[in-house]
């Protein structure tokens, strides 16, 4: 039986299959070794985006070489294969238009470098950290740990806001104060709060702008510069401090309200009490 098996394994077709398997196994092992070597030697000084691209390039190139070797062992000529594809090729080409568009869009996205892996971006109404930039799509990890897949063609034609591109940002807070308040005093209080908050940068200087006369309040724009990793800490601390300090200083943050008057602001609104009448039943 063993001899029968040996003879069976020597059949030309089986020899080819055996060689293909050897190529695939050795090729795969070699590919992993190369990837490991590159990781050990070159990884230290590279950013996540570059590491991702190099890793993908090694894998795809390795797979392509293994595939070519396999086709060679099987004595299949690529040109013949492509020629034989014929109509199938045309059909596949039409069917994969979107995919090809995504691949090309992906190349443009990478070369443009408007965002990288690890950046926090907003695409339309979706916000998340760039998890990966693949051939066909960009994957975002949302702040509540969901994975969103956005096709590259969508990315290239959408407005993308890179929230963490620059090392510092300005946090804009809208604050309304009652009309009766002393605006200079309010500005002084806001300036002092910015100076005393440890997460607010001294420079660029905070922006305190009187925006407009609102319906219920005079509105300020309070813009504080911060190092991008301190967003939550600054926001929570400064809003608490604004509330506490305004209460201590007697500065009113009014609720939205409407004042009704019958023509004279100084006279009370006339109210007439009517005797209670029993309605007809």
């Amino acid at each position: 039986m063993f001899e029968f098996l040996l003879k069976y394994l020597e059949e030309p077709a089986l020899i080819k299959i055996r060689n293909v398997l050897i190529i695939i196994i050795i090729g795969y092992a070699l590919l992993q070794l190369i990837a490991l070597f590159v990781r050990r030697v070159m990884w230290k000084n590279l950013d996540p985006q570059t590491k991702f691209i190099i890793h993908k390039a090694i894998i795809y190139t390795g797979i392509a070489i293994i595939l070519l070797l396999v086709l060679r062992v099987l004595n299949l000529k690529i040109t013949a294969l492509l020629g034989a594809a014929g109509i199938l090729g045309i059909v596949l080409g039409i069917a994969s238009q979107t995919s090809i568009g995504n691949v090309i869009s992906g190349i443009f996205l990478i070369s443009e470098k408007s965002f990288e892996i690890g950046d926090l971006i907003r695409v339309d109404d979706k916000m998340g950290t760039v998890y990966s930039i693949d051939l066909l799509s960009v994957k975002l990890k949302t702040l509540d740990n969901l994975l969103i897949r956005i096709p590259n063609q969508t990315m290239i034609s959408s407005e993308v806001t890179n929230i963490t591109r620059f090392p510092i940002r300005r946090m804009d807070i809208d604050i309304g104060v009652a009309y009766k308040e002393d605006l200079k005093k309010v500005m002084g209080v806001l300036r002092k709060l910015a100076v005393n908050n440890p997460y607010c940068l001294d420079e660029p200087e905070p922006l305190i702008l009187i925006k407009d006369f609102g319906e219920s309040s005079i509105n300020f724009l309070y813009g504080l510069w911060f190092e991008k990793s301190n967003y939550v800490t600054l926001r929570n601390s400064i809003i608490q401090e604004i509330k506490t300090t305004f209460e201590a200083e007697g500065i009113e943050i009014p609720f939205p309200h409407l004042t009704l008057y019958t023509g004279e602001a100084t006279k009370p609104f006339p109210v007439q009490m009517k005797p209670e009448t029993k309605g007809k039943q």
């Binding site: 090392p167 440890p198 940068l201 001294d202 420079e203 660029p204 190092e227």
Partner: protein, 258 residues
Amino acid sequence: MWHKYKFEENKTYSTKIGKTRLWIEKQKKIWRIASQIEEQKEFLSDGFQIIQTVPENIPWQQYVGDKNNNLQLLPNLPNQPVVIKPEIPFTIMAGMNLDIYVKIPLWIQLYSSSVKPENLLFEMSTTELSLTWFGDPTNGELAYSLQSDIIQKVPDNGSLTDEAICPINIRNDSLSILNFQRLSIDTNELNVYANQNLLCTNEVKVKFKGEEQNSEVNILHGSPAIAEGLKQIGYARSKPDKNLLRKSFYFIKSFTQY
């Protein structure tokens, strides 16, 4: 006070340097260290003393070390560049130079045995330092804003124990006047030297080469020539690059912020 201290187990020690109060306890292999910044400055020249009453709710941190009961208390400088903002901006004519002295708040470092980076147990500023940004909002560096004055000679009574005096020589090597509003110094590359009444750093020489070019910064090796008997007691966090080119001056350009 900047030396090695021996701590008995299960006893609480305290000291205050500048505005920072420190508490330390040793329990077998565990070091417990707490710190707090207080309103008033104080300088306890005796260093760590045993205290009987320990305040409640102080933020303890625990460090696992060896059975060694010694800690070395050393001064250092801030772990980020400092931005000096003179109250009255300086103007230096082309070809002229200016010697100034800047007071830099110290950081406290505690080493568990020899003074090596891997033995650094704890470090903290002796005062609250305010964060600022030096440079363009798209490309600059995070730094501490110094509110201390720029002085033009070393004080006769030396320095307080929570600050080091940094001698800086600024030379205007350009063809235009230098009117600077901000100066950034990378304190990671400075050592701390001391004699009986003065704490100071290496001397820094800055050559201004024009607004559009980086300045040449030279950190001179060894103790500065501003006093005698200076010995090194604090060690730079990183080795200085010779003739480092960096943007040391920032020229505020007015722009519409809204």
